[in-house]
Symmetry: C2
Subunit: 389 residues, 2 copies
């Protein structure tokens, strides 16, 4: 565990620094403000943290102006919590109000910008969604016809991709919890146990190790390997000769780990051992290539050149890792053709995968920080040979 | 537990019936199809269940035609799992592909409709979001200019509001798990325990009781009451005289419970006892009023007339309960002015709340099925007096 294992949240300076960086980039791009409405973005600039986002009923809005602190436009139910953040201007309405769920408040806030024909940044690009009713969005834009709507996806993702020291500490903490949980798996798992029970035991152990929650847990187990990597658990009992994979996104204080581990039950066959070895070495190549200044494409190529010893199909997953932080998957993607340059303090997954045998697949995954010397592991490195339980 | 506690998923007939009902309503509204992209809707018509939706990277699409089975347009990573459902037409692409994340596949699928000027239903209304990049949506609509886009929110929410017997069984099962977990709380909680540890113990117990996950857990504890109901846990130790509230959405096989319980630590003061009594009786009034043929407004009025004994402000939550099922909160909302008529087999929360004392609040919540005789409890009814731990 980290020395400050108990600390939660960030000092106000963290949010002020994030906002200042955003405003500097906004100035370069001629943006008079950002209108944000997704959980990670609202939290990034405010620290507002609640599981209440799981209710789809209410929209939440944050306006980041060209200067000064962000302004929250949120349902009254969140007012007490938002007023504990560094924000000063928190505007609320009694939601749900389907006929006017914050829209007239937003019009009041943004009308001066519209009148001056200003540019407003919103998230319209890859990995974004419009977390408000589409009809309300259309109504809002019609009422603010003078606004020029610009896509601020690159700006916001560019900010979030590079983590602060405090963010890296939080991700390192949850990665340590994940590693400790995976280390317990050989003692939790046995032949004859339904996969569903393995999942249940894993979640309970991760909580005991200090995770706040285990929102993401997928995996598979079948004879000699598994066939997909996003399924819920079956009730099939583990059998000798199975390869078991568990892939988890545990969370603590709003930051994720995202990595997996593989085990053989009772005995491992040669094909599974070979696949494991190739992926372990692909990860080694990724660790070396994950250094400041390399591109995502180069990181991808370093891993796929090892993977191609066994599989040159490119696989179904479409990429060999991604960014990680407040969300399970973030920018960038390690893919062919992605020219994004790795920067100091990006937090990434290395996630080489391959197909082998008769429709089987295997995935390895580690979490790292980009440094000038290559990837610094946040996870306890997987064993070099397929572990047998 | 229910007799079939082990069963998962639904028979194909369930999805065929849902699709047939949708198609009957689509015919009435002159819709040539529905284009859906959110987790609950895709799962409702297919049974496709994965936690992978937590990754924001990839969009997923489902087209429900006027006749025949739905067509999936999804990332290749989901193909194996989607092909296990009752669907026959599963179209995939190698996502992520920011330059064309399913858009040309959708254009190929929908172009015949556009050429004939057909009406396509999409979700644009209250409680919906556009789970794809806004720029991709704009591009899609521009390429399909002949389409008439209609808001199908009422249609889809109308379908989902009334549960099948198989759905009610699943919700009853997770409510029983939630009730069993709450029954254990007095044995898990003690003075001096940080609230954060109470949350951790609750999650672990819910998993042990059979929950697949505890994605939603909020609550509060403070002297004589709590001040908001959507916060993550503090590290403040429980103290004598606190009122503790835990509100959970546990999930099993993709269906939620959503209810809370309140306890006093060591001793309860009169104000808290009085608030509890008023809310308990408000829930009784809700149970009686939650009968087929009453409106949501009438259900709201029945509860608020009791609440007004102590608080006539209407509170911050904006409603006194809501629908429940595949999502933590669904339609309808029990609010003033909502004329939605309660139907047999709607599953609802009754969630009366009030403010009291100096900025304190209290919330009660139960989960029920609407019947002609009133609400049938799926949860084990809260004790009539504030329990003291």
């Amino acid at each position: 565990m980290q020395p400050d294992a108990g600390s939660r949240g960030f000092p106000e300076a963290e949010f002020a620094a994030r906002t200042a960086r955003a405003q500097a980039w906004m100035a370069e791009q001629g943006l008079a403000g950002l209108l944000l409405m997704t959980e990670a973005e609202v939290r990034y600039f405010t620290g507002f943290q609640t599981l209440f986002w799981q209710s789809p009923t209410r929209p939440w809005f944050l306006f980041v102006p060209a200067e000064g602190k962000p302004v929250a436009v949120i349902p009254e139910i969140g007012a007490a919590l938002m007023r504990q953040t560094w924000l000063e201007d928190v505007r609320t309405w009694a939601a749900p109000a389907p006929e006017d769920d914050g829209i007239s408040l937003l019009i009041g806030l943004l009308d001066p910008l519209a009148r001056s024909g200003a540019r407003l940044g919103v998230l319209k690009g890859h990995e974004t969604a419009l977390r408000m009713p589409l009809a309300d969005w259309e109504r809002l834009i019609a009422a603010l016809a003078g606004l020029e709507i610009a896509d601020a996806t690159g700006l916001v993702q560019g900010l979030r991709m590079v983590k602060s020291a405090a963010e890296i500490e939080k991700i390192a903490h949850i990665c340590a919890i994940g590693s400790a949980t995976f280390a317990r798996v050989p003692y939790m798992v046995s032949e004859g146990q339904p996969l569903e029970e393995v999942f249940r035991a894993f979640r309970r152990e991760a909580l005991a190790q200090g995770a706040d929650d285990v929102p993401y847990l997928v995996g598979g187990a079948d004879r000699g390997g598994y066939v997909d990597c996003i399924s819920p658990p079956s009730r099939r009992p583990l059998a000798r000769g199975d390869v078991l994979m568990l892939d988890t996104g545990c969370v603590r204080d709003g930051y994720f780990c995202d990595f997996d581990r593989n085990w053989a039950i009772g005995a491992a066959d040669d094909r599974a051992r070979r696949a494991y070895d190739v992926l372990w070495r692909a990860t080694e190549a990724g660790l070396a290539a994950a250094r400041t200044g390399n591109s995502c494409h180069e990181l991808f190529a370093a891993m796929s050149s090892v993977i191609s010893e066994l599989d040159d199909s490119g696989g179904d997953i479409g990429r060999l890792g991604h960014g990680l932080g407040m969300q399970l998957t973030e920018q960038p993607s390690h893919m062919a053709g992605v020219e994004t340059v790795l920067q100091d303090n990006m937090v990434l997954t290395l996630e080489p995968s391959l197909s082998y045998g008769d429709g089987l697949m295997m995935v390895h995954e580690e979490n790292i920080v980009v440094t000038p010397q290559g990837g610094r592991l946040l996870t306890t490195r997987a064993a070099p040979d397929l572990p047998v339980i």
